[in-house]
Symmetry: C2
């Protein structure tokens, strides 16, 4: 599974948008289905939204589950203008 | 960059330990170096430690930075016994 193609795109390609991708993978010894990732999903988004404005419509979430491994993929497109000033945006 | 080899190991391999891997990638439009990931790093660990005990010695962090992309990799080995009961551990 090739993830995070960011690093493979040459540096010359102009970046038109601002994007944040989060990947959480949990390798479990027990196969009980209660999921640490489901708990973390909301809290990770809360942590991010303290620093940058997130439009719920621009958040894509995928959960992949195998016998002993769960993987949560969160892909957020950020509005460059809404980024804080110290990160190149215009937000306060 | 092949990350998270979890999914490629066959299901038959017994999982001896419990492990959590987090990957945060930020594709920035501006090249200003102030980093969203440095801000998120601490908060993601705080969110996790609300649910499972984390031994600071079992946490490996790597930050990769290119011109318009930063990537933070956090690899945590968890003590299966310290996982909450509903996740197969013995913690309260």
């Amino acid at each position: 599974m090739k993830l995070f193609g960011f690093f493979n795109r040459g540096n010359s390609a102009p970046v038109a948008r601002e994007r944040l991708q989060i990947l959480l993978a949990h390798e479990r010894r027990s196969t009980c289905n209660s999921d640490l990732l489901a708990l973390l999903h909301r809290e990770v988004l809360e942590a991010i939204s303290k620093h940058v404005a997130i439009d719920a419509e621009q958040v894509a979430v995928k959960l992949h589950r195998r016998e002993s491994v769960s993987m949560l993929e969160i892909d957020i497109e950020l509005d460059p203008e809404a980024m804080p000033a110290q990160m190149g945006g215009r937000a306060a």
